[in-house]
């Protein structure tokens, strides 16, 4: 059985019912975070350099994504196995992206010198 906290749903429901307050709260948070990410990316006073700003943008996006996953997608209330496999899939994405980035970064000089040679 799914971990149902909603007494009413326990009787005949198949899964957890999200409360209206929660839905609106998450929606509000998502909108606010969208505004925040735009401001940090465009306002001069938040310019901390390319790298820092990328991290900030990604952290905000990840917070937003987590809100969507945990509440809109019910992962917090759903069977934990679904959460597990979803997180697991992100590991594989990480593996794919990081290995590809690691390797391509290594051989960039070989591309760069060819480009320079051709430009001459």
């Amino acid at each position: 059985m799914s971990t149902t906290t909603h007494g009413h749903a326990q009787d005949h429901g198949l899964s957890h019912v999200m409360s209206a307050k929660m839905l609106l709260g998450v929606w509000g948070a998502l909108i606010v975070l969208t505004v925040v990410t735009v401001i940090t990316a465009t306002q001069p006073m938040f310019n901390f350099g390319a790298y820092a700003n990328l991290v900030i943008a990604m952290v905000i996006a990840t917070v937003k994504a987590s809100l969507v996953c945990l509440f809109f997608m019910h992962l917090l209330y759903d069977r934990k196995f679904n959460l597990l496999i979803f997180m697991g899939s992100l590991l594989f994405v990480l593996l794919f992206v990081s290995f590809s980035m690691m390797d391509t970064a290594q051989y960039q000089p070989a591309i760069q010198s060819r480009v320079e040679a051709q430009a001459q």
Binding site: L95, F96, F99, S100, D103, Q106, A110
Partner: protein
């Protein structure tokens, strides 16, 4: 409910009449069926058809290779290049990947679990039709300008080749990818949610562990292939420049994309084979499989480690030395679970009550081929040696030993093992063994000379070759004829058995997994009452009954 256990071995005669084959009649009842068994049979017919098509290409290629130059078939360079591409692509995408999960997986998996069907029967049928649809795209590619890229579609060649079938083929691969994904998804859900009473994870037959591991790869890796071929299609039509160096793209990145799928895909091809061999060795040795948990976990380990080693296909590609070293190191870790499986099978056979049946012969053939295929993998994983062997016939021989040897012999083993269950009739045992011997010997004669050629430096995908390699090519071609003959013989024996063979009992081998508890062939709904699962390899309660030539359960 426990009182029902004992009678399941030979269910009531009234039920025996109604089986999945006679449940409904007419071509429509097959084409629109949601019964996993019928879908399995349709997969079997279709994938074997693909095997025959790919096999004809293989024989034509080998015939051409009897001599350097155009040869006795007067084949042109381009025809040869297109033919080896189609041979590879058809074999990989239409046969090896879908065959065992699609045919045997579909037929056996729900029954083994004690379920009435897979979790999503409609999706299952849709997967099958996606396969058909993908096959149609492949045929279209053959007619509409063909493809000459090799099954690997490396850029920028695949973007620039004038052969116009490339887009058809890549879209075919895309569609087949989703067929594969949905099959895997279906099996995972079925295994998680539809297990019968008593079917704990460690009472699951090893075939199911293998199919489960395969499905994990199908769901996680195949989407990356889908996006890769999609990007390739876009590259070819719109010239976006992600993989095309003339537009600033990176062709080595394509290889990363491709092999992120295609290396795990090697385990999509071999893991179901492992599962079948585990079943055969256990049942036909009439002895509990040695090291059940080791085998079960080694399947999962192979599936997961399989994702970490794709870069060993790129040792000479211009991949950085750092990446090569890491990938090489991880590659060796896969050798260990593979070795565990082999030793466990041998240990199961040791001091067993071994039945020298046709499936057992195939299992032994599989072990021979897989030992050679697996050990030659060590040469290719060792970086210094791979530099010399890469893209030579050594690689061709290695992957045929693993993929074709592994899939084909396992498929035959599985078919000969479950054929009485699938069609309720036995085949000719003597011809079955002859087929097994011919296939095993023919295979070795075909591919072993290629190890020598490869080490001597004969590159792969060569239309013509230096005269010093001719003797090996002739040997290889003769072996291919023998192999082809053996395959046809093995299938013919099965087909004749299905129509003319004597009636099979519910449990002709004395298997303890649930599929042997329903009648042969199984009824439409598999089980009138959901059975209870016990240890899948505990044969103590099964004794031979001469009247039915089968085994009967006496459990109390």
């Amino acid at each position: 409910m426990s009182s029902l256990d004992t009678t399941m071995g030979h269910s009531a005669p009234s039920h025996a009449e109604d089986n999945y084959l006679t449940h409904a009649h007419g071509i429509k009842s097959w084409l629109l069926t949601l019964d996993h068994k019928r879908i399995g049979v349709m997969y079997l017919c279709s994938t074997v058809g693909a095997l025959m098509l790919g096999g004809v290409f293989a024989l034509l290629l080998r015939t051409k290779l009897l001599t350097p130059g155009p040869g006795i078939l007067d084949m042109s360079h381009d025809t040869y290049n297109r033919m080896f591409t189609l041979h590879g692509a058809i074999m990989v995408f239409l046969f090896i990947i879908p065959a065992i999960p699609g045919a045997l997986g579909n037929f056996v998996l729900p029954i083994m679990l004690g379920a009435k069907d897979v979790a999503f029967p409609k999706l299952n049928l849709a997967s099958y039709y996606l396969w058909v649809f993908g096959a149609v795209f492949f045929v279209t590619a053959m007619v509409a300008g063909s493809i000459d890229t090799g099954w690997t579609f490396y850029t920028p060649y695949s973007v620039t080749t004038p052969a116009n079938g490339v887009i058809w083929a890549t879209m075919g691969v895309f569609i087949l990818g989703f067929s594969s994904i949905f099959t895997g998804l279906n099996f995972i859900v079925t295994i998680h949610k539809l297990r019968a009473e008593g079917m704990t994870w460690f009472r699951m037959p090893l075939f199911l562990w293998a199919i489960y591991s395969t499905s994990v790869i199908q769901v996680l890796a195949t989407p990356v292939l889908a996006i890769t071929v999609l990007l390739l299609t876009v590259e070819r039509t719109l010239h976006v420049g992600i993989f095309d160096p003339s537009l600033g793209g990176d062709p080595v990145l394509f290889q990363h994309f491709f092999w992120f799928y295609s290396h795990p895909a090697v385990y999509i091809m071999i893991l179901p084979g492992f599962g079948i061999i585990s079943e055969i060795v256990g049942v036909h040795s009439r002895k509990h499989v040695f090291g059940y948990r080791f085998i079960a976990f080694s399947s999962l380990a192979i599936a997961l480690l399989g994702f970490l080693v794709w870069g060993h296909h790129l040792f000479t590609s211009g991949q950085s030395a750092l990446a090569s070293v890491i990938f090489s190191a991880i590659t060796f870790t896969i050798a260990i679970p593979s070795a565990i499986k082999i030793f466990n099978w041998l240990a199961t056979m040791y001091k067993s009550s071994l039945q020298l049946t046709t499936p057992m012969w195939y299992a032994f053939g599989f072990i021979v081929l897989f030992v050679i295929g697996g050990l030659t993998g060590l040469f290719l994983a060792a970086m210094a040696v791979d530099i010399h062997l890469h893209d030579t016939y050594f690689v061709v021989a290695h992957f045929h030993y693993v993929m074709v040897g592994g899939t084909l012999l396992a498929l035959f083993g599985g078919l000969y093992h479950w054929w009485p269950k699938m069609f309720g009739r036995m085949y000719n045992e003597m011809w079955g063994k002859v087929g097994a011997v011919l296939v095993t010997i023919g295979f070795n004669v075909t591919f072993f000379p290629q190890f020598v050629m490869g080490t001597r430096g004969m590159p792969r995908r060569y239309f013509t070759y230096l005269p010093e390699f001719q003797a090996f090519h002739i040997a290889s071609t003769l072996g291919a004829y023998l192999l082809g003959f053996g395959i046809v013989l093995a299938f013919a024996n099965l087909a004749i058995g299905a129509f003319r063979g004597r009636k099979a009992s519910a449990n002709p081998w004395g298997g303890a997994t649930l599929e042997w508890e329903c009648s042969s062939p199984p009824p439409h709904d598999n089980f009138a009452v959901t059975p209870t699962a016990h240890d899948p390899y505990d044969f103590a309660h099964l004794s031979y009954d001469e009247k039915t030539d089968g085994y009967v359960a006496r459990r109390s």
